[in-house]
């Protein structure tokens, strides 16, 4: 951690420290709405980072990450719902279950040489399969959904994630910061370099003696575990879960927007992407509501157009360009 901090130049240090201080102090001045938008930004930065580790660093395209969000959310919510086991314990169950699912998907994919398009389809199929399965799991509420009680008397139990906007704001901020630190560590670790090698040229990586299967497997496991934590956050933040929503393919697409827009395979890409997309989406909603043309689909159309524009004009994302523009190299000269 300290080595990481020392490894970057002064200017980046200053920008990072200022940004962090501003975000920590934000609840002093921001109202509830602004905090909720920021919370959403951090959430997308976090799950985007999880996806980015797998796609951006290890080059494995998953279009079914909603699977891990959903499993994490349901695991922790069910433990709370039936046994009153709080999310601080439930998160371990969530992580193990999502990792088990990730292991199955990864093993099926990598052991049997399912690559590229086919792997992406495998991940979609796994997510959709689970969605329909959860539609028929009666103990999890089926398609009617699972609801966590919002009890006034438990609102102070922050350790059980029962609280107001402020609690979730700081939790999301911590998650986003943690994910950046983790990604930065991983990117500089031996494993991270293995991932990059596999992404760039699998055959060459294998020829260098890298265990490609293990590298890809570890990418899926790390990514699914991280995403599951995002799922736990989702469950306790929104207090309701529907299979048709949480496992839906549009959820999987939603969480990869931020890293793609920000810059695939970059440490700050997901954060930058989330900071661009979420406020624009919110502004668009506010604008259409004001103009009286507030109909479902507007925000998604805008996201779709953004996606097309970014991938057409700036496929490496916004962050590499932005970093150059403000003179942050990320490394000591």
């Amino acid at each position: 951690m300290i080595a990481l901090w020392r490894g970057i130049d002064r200017r980046s240090q200053a920008v990072l420290a200022l940004a962090l201080a501003a975000l920590v102090a934000a609840p002093l001045v921001a109202d509830r709405y602004l905090l909720s938008v920021l919370t959403l930004i951090f959430y997308f930065a976090y799950v985007g980072q999880a996806w980015n580790l797998m796609m951006g660093l290890a080059g494995q395209l998953s279009l079914g990450h909603a699977l891990y969000v959903g499993l994490g959310a349901y695991a922790s919510a069910l433990l709370w719902f039936y046994f009153g086991i709080g999310p601080w314990l439930g998160v371990f169950a969530a992580i193990s279950i999502a990792m088990a699912a990730g292991a199955v998907v990864g093993w099926l994919g990598f052991r049997f040489g399912v690559e590229g398009v086919y792997f992406a389809l495998l991940t979609i199929a796994a997510a959709e399969f689970t969605r329909i399965a959860f539609d028929h799991l009666d103990f999890a509420g089926g398609s009617g959904g699972l609801f966590l009680l919002y009890e006034e008397r438990r609102l102070g139990e922050w350790w059980n994630l029962r609280g107001g906007q402020m609690l979730f704001y700081y939790l999301a901020l911590a998650l986003a910061c943690g994910s950046i630190a983790l990604a930065a560590c991983l990117a500089r670790s031996r494993l991270g370099f293995h991932w990059l090698a596999v992404r760039e040229d699998e055959a060459a990586a294998r020829a260098l003696g890298i265990d490609v299967f293990r590298a890809k497997m570890s990418a899926v496991l790390v990514s699914s575990a991280m995403t599951a934590v995002g799922g736990v956050f989702y469950a306790f933040y929104y207090n309701n879960l529907f299979p048709a929503q949480i496992f839906d393919i549009s959820r999987s697409i939603e969480l990869m927007l931020a890293p793609i827009v920000g810059g695939l395979g970059t440490i700050f890409g997901p954060v930058v992407g989330a900071f661009i997309l979420t406020p624009l989406g919110e502004a668009l909603i506010a604008l259409t509501a004001k103009l009286g043309i507030d109909i479902p689909g507007v925000k998604a159309v805008f996201y779709g157009l953004t996606l097309i524009a970014i991938i057409y004009f700036r496929p490496s994302g916004v962050w590499p360009w932005l970093a150059r523009a403000i003179g942050i190299t990320g490394r000591k000269p």
Binding site: I132, H136, I295, P296, A300, T306
Partner: protein, 309 residues
């Protein structure tokens, strides 16, 4: 004693009659599944043609199918034109759309990393499906054809007219397409691009134009299939991702790039969905398709009839 014997005999014939009835119900379900599957097959054929030649995976495939559904739906509601008639102008319009899309946007992505292409088409898909949502709203809209509930009685079978017509139309279009690829010069040139891209470029084929034509043909297939689909299903934006996945399942089961494979895969999926929907809960039927997709991806990635991976 005698009474007992008689009742035993009656019980037996009753059993036989009941078994015969069960069989005819199953046969009915299978036949309906085959007919629906042929329309699915035509839709998947579009995806297969595009992937086989252009090597781009059309992640917006089902979205285009639903656009065609709404086009046929509107033409039927406003001008009372039968989808069997309007499928041809819709196919033509979709050909132009596909040609333009490939010529302007997608050609720029040939040779770019695979995931760039995915993301582009995923983006196009999002815009289409949510555009439809904005215009038509989320509710399913039935076309209500005048012969929508008629059926052909064949022996004990009752086969929906709409399914027969749409399946016949799908087969006719698919046959025309086979003919095009087999016997025309353009069709041969497109096959040359698919078989050996460098070779095709060396002998002077205009690869980009052929790609645009191929994408146009692929969209014309999905446009026709969408128009026919109006006859057997209600139009709704939510169908789009389901259709995309369905086409993928069919094409992968049949083998990506194989044209006969797409039709046979369509029939297989049509029948298995119909049977699953009949024997267990209808809402669980696509679980089988996804399980089948995973099994085929893992065990036989070239598909049942595919030539190469």
């Amino acid at each position: 004693m005698r009474r007992l014997a008689r009742s035993a005999v009656e019980g037996q014939t009753g059993q036989v009659r009941r078994t015969a009835m069960m069989w005819s119900i199953y046969l009915n379900v299978v036949v309906q599944g085959v007919l629906t599957g042929l329309v699915y097959g035509l839709m998947a054929l579009g995806l297969s043609v595009i992937f086989g030649v252009v090597r781009v995976v059309n992640f917006a495939h089902g979205e285009f199918a639903v656009v065609a559904m709404y086009a046929a739906f509107l033409l039927f509601k406003t001008l009372e034109l039968d989808p069997l008639v309007t499928m041809l102008p819709i196919a033509a319009a979709f050909f132009v759309l596909g040609f333009a899309l490939q010529a302007t946007v997608i050609n720029a992505f040939i040779g770019r990393p695979e995931h760039d292409q995915f993301i582009l088409l995923v983006g196009i898909g999002i815009v289409i499906v949510n555009g439809l949502l904005m215009i038509f709203g989320p509710d399913a809209q039935p076309a209500n054809l005048s012969y929508g509930f008629d059926s052909f009685p064949i022996g004990t079978l009752m086969i929906d007219k709409v399914r027969v017509y749409s399946a016949l139309a799908a087969v006719a279009i698919a046959t025309a397409l086979f003919g095009f690829f087999r016997y025309t010069e353009t069709g041969t040139a497109i096959r040359a691009c698919a078989d050996n891209l460098t070779g095709a470029a060396v002998v002077g084929l205009d690869v980009k134009r052929l790609y645009a034509i191929t994408f146009g043909i692929g969209l014309a297939c999905v446009g026709t299939a969408g128009a026919l689909m109006v006859m057997i299903a209600d139009a709704a934006p939510a169908l789009a991702p389901a259709f995309t996945l369905l086409s993928f399942i069919i094409v992968i089961v049949g083998g990506l790039g194989s044209m006969t494979g797409a039709l046979i895969g369509g029939v297989l999926i049509g029948v298995s969905e119909a049977l699953a929907g009949f024997m267990i809960e209808p809402s669980m039927k696509s679980m089988f398709s996804f399980a089948l997709l995973i099994a085929v991806l893992v065990l036989r990635p070239r598909g049942l009839l595919g030539r190469r991976a």
